[in-house]
């Protein structure tokens, strides 16, 4: 979902954003959310919803929508949240054999039906459904099969067919509007949710919608780049603004929620919750949202792998003066509570070289902006933990992650299988070789008293040598002829 910056939920007491998903790629003032609550109704990603659509010359029919297809604008859009009118049920009445027929109940409950597609490029309405629309298998857009339905629905549909359930979902993000062209026939709109992937189309029929549920929200658009930003306004202005909008309807709302995470989600099996959702928009309801946990969006990388790109982008803070016994999870919890940010944290394990009184942690934020704002908040205010610990944060993180390159004063035995005394002298470096030679010569001087290396160690620690597999016996260098 798209949030316009200034038009937050503050203007409207009944409106509240839900989980945040990310920031716009081009414009980081744009935020994407997974859900929001309006007047007590929670809208989640992949829900079916109807939108304000400004149709211009369209004369939409009352309950028929067209499924947008093709690859032109209008198949999938980013929509502003204010354009969402409410959740709705959409049923597919197409005779296509891939489409389970809706039962009468479903039809009755459906707010909209669709049985045809509208090609945004060719601008024709057709009864044929392509195999995939905007990257989504068309079977996901048809009614849901009964066997796939959530349990609670099972009893409802008699046949194997899905019921087109009314769609509840409303997903601003996803919902894209498709517009027919103006010149085309009666473009209807439909709003149908489609998958994550950016596809959803349909528009609502504006009037219908308005009449039924007119949200208190109004929109006024300001276009920013391609993405219109809507501000909430007084109720009455809606229509007026609408008219201004429809001048270039197709430009305006664009695709919806296509955030990076979405892509990752594709990797998951087709059975994942999201896909299911997509599959029958009508059924969607809440299942989707719940399944779409953060986890399902991307696989969690090992911390080191995440750290590297995060450091490059400045998303990492080093937090100091934590209680040393905190675990990484506790630090993540602390940040969730104190900064309202989901972070990835790692406590730095203590060592004899680190302070025993102060724990440190590396914290990876989702965005650079979040890291910066947390940083400045830490500096301006004080975050006091129990035990009078005031947290300090810094961007003083290592530039490079990697293993140590050198180890002063130590000669590695490159081949680890070579660990015996004789072999040590084979694979040590030239300088050490001279040391060993010296040792041999010392022994040579006193043939009857084998050289105890520990004695030598007292003279020059560099010379001490204990072989790993014989730690209790000191190595004797026997003089070689």
């Amino acid at each position: 979902m798209l949030q316009s910056n200034s038009a937050g939920g503050e203007d409207n007491p009944d409106f509240k954003w839900g989980a945040k998903r990310g920031v716009g790629r081009k414009d980081n003032k744009v935020r994407f959310y997974e859900s929001f609550t309006l007047e007590g109704i929670e809208y989640r990603l992949f829900d079916c919803a109807y939108f304000y659509r400004f149709l211009g010359e369209y004369e939409p029919q009352w309950d028929e929508l067209f499924l947008a297809c093709g690859d032109e604008k209008g198949v999938s859009n980013i929509n502003d949240v204010e354009t969402i009118m409410g959740k709705c049920n959409v049923v597919c009445t197409s005779d296509d054999r891939r489409n389970p027929r809706p039962g009468t109940k479903e039809l009755r409950r459906a707010k909209y039906i669709f049985s045809r597609t509208f090609d945004t490029r060719l601008r024709i309405i057709s009864e044929d459904f392509a195999d995939a629309i905007a990257g989504i298998g068309v079977d996901k857009l048809f009614n849901m099969r009964r066997d796939k339905q959530p349990v609670k629905r099972l009893n409802s549909s008699a046949a194997a067919i899905t019921r087109a359930s009314p769609v509840k979902s409303f997903r601003p993000d996803l919902g894209s509007t498709k517009l027919g062209k103006h010149d085309n026939r009666d473009a209807k709109l439909m709003s149908r949710t489609s998958s994550l992937k950016k596809v959803t189309f349909l528009e609502d029929r504006a009037d219908h919608v308005h009449v039924k549920r007119n949200p208190p929200v109004n929109t006024e658009t300001t276009t920013r780049g391609q993405i219109p930003i809507l501000k909430t306004r007084a109720f009455g202005e809606l229509y007026a603004s609408g008219s201004s909008v429809n001048a270039k309807p197709s430009k305006k709302r664009k695709l919806i929620l296509n955030t990076p995470e979405t892509d990752d989600s594709d990797d998951q099996g087709p059975q994942s919750g999201e896909k299911k959702l997509i599959k029958n928009p009508p059924l969607v309801e809440k299942a989707p949202s719940q399944n779409i946990e953060k986890k399902s969006w991307y696989k969690k990388l090992p911390f080191e792998d995440e750290l590297k790109p995060a450091i490059e982008k400045g998303r990492v803070l080093l937090i100091e003066n934590l209680e040393p016994s905190y675990t990484s999870l506790e630090v993540e919890f602390l940040f969730r509570q104190a900064f309202k940010e989901g972070v990835d944290a790692k406590m730095i394990p203590s060592s004899p070289m680190s302070s025993p009184h102060s724990g440190r942690a590396l914290v990876i934020f989702g965005t650079t902006k979040a890291a910066d704002s947390a940083m400045s908040r830490l500096n301006e205010d004080c975050l006091m933990l129990s035990g009078q610990r005031a947290l300090t944060g810094s961007k003083n993180v290592p530039v490079e992650i990697g293993r140590c390159r050198s180890f002063t004063g130590h000669f590695n035995m490159v081949d680890r299988s070579l660990m015996t005394a004789q072999k040590v002298s084979c694979c040590i470096t030239l300088r050490l070789f001279s040391v060993v030679i010296s040792l041999v010569m010392v022994t040579h001087r006193k043939p009857n008293s084998p050289c105890q290396i520990t004695e030598y160690y007292k003279l020059t620690p560099l010379f001490s040598l204990i072989i790993v597999n014989r730690p209790h016996k000191f190595v004797n260098f026997q003089p070689h002829p």
Binding site: T327, I348, S351, C382, L383, R431, V442
Partner: protein, 200 residues
């Protein structure tokens, strides 16, 4: 009745007691090398490296070696601290000490503890105090990293010095050997009538 959390923590503490923290290890050492090195003292159950996230990168590597029982742990610690013990190279001996819970990356949460915090705004009476605490914490951490840097420099210096000493010793021995080999030493001993000269 102990909660599952407490049981898990108790188990963890027991693991801590069986574990030796070993540092001054070369970064090239691998888990098999370390476990074969410490298997001489008993049975090594697990070797886990402590990641060095914050550097400096030249710091020696630390590793937690989990032994089978506490006696073995004691044996490792006492032997390694009394005698120089070298792993995967020379001549820097490793150090060993008893592990502490905070050294473990995967330590469990302390049972019964909740994270508490409060924001102190600039208009809060405690704000000044909190700011002083913060400053002190920063100072400590700066001092700590400075000391580490200093220590590494010292190590570097010492290593250079030792290398020079070794080369000098080597040269000296070489010269002596040559003198003995070509008979100059014997001749000189005869000339000066050194009765105690052993290699005549």
């Amino acid at each position: 009745m102990a909660t599952p959390e407490e049981v898990a923590y108790e188990k963890f503490l027991e693991r801590v007691r069986r574990t030796v923290y070993v540092d001054e290890l070369t970064p090239l050492a691998t888990a098999p090398v370390i476990s074969s090195a410490f298997n001489q003292f008993g049975t090594v159950k697990k070797v886990s490296f402590i990641p060095n996230y914050l550097g400096p990168k030249e710091l020696p590597m630390g590793v937690l070696v989990e032994m089978e029982n506490e006696e073995m742990t004691q044996a490792v610690i006492s032997t390694v601290s009394q005698l120089p013990f070298m792993v995967a190279g020379m001549p820097r001996p490793v150090r060993a000490c008893a592990a502490e819970p905070n050294m473990f990356v995967d330590k469990p949460k302390k049972p019964g503890r909740t994270v508490r915090f409060r924001w102190i705004k600039p208009n809060d009476p405690d704000f000044d105090k909190a700011r002083r605490v913060k400053r002190l914490a920063r100072k400590h951490s700066a001092e700590n990293s400075f000391m580490l840097k200093k220590q590494l420099e010292e190590a570097e210096k010492l290593s250079k010095q030792q290398a020079e000493t070794a080369v000098t010793h080597h040269k000296k021995f070489e010269m002596m050997d040559k003198l003995l080999y070509d008979g100059v030493a014997q001749k000189l001993a005869g000339r000066y009538d050194l009765k105690g000269f052993p290699y005549r």
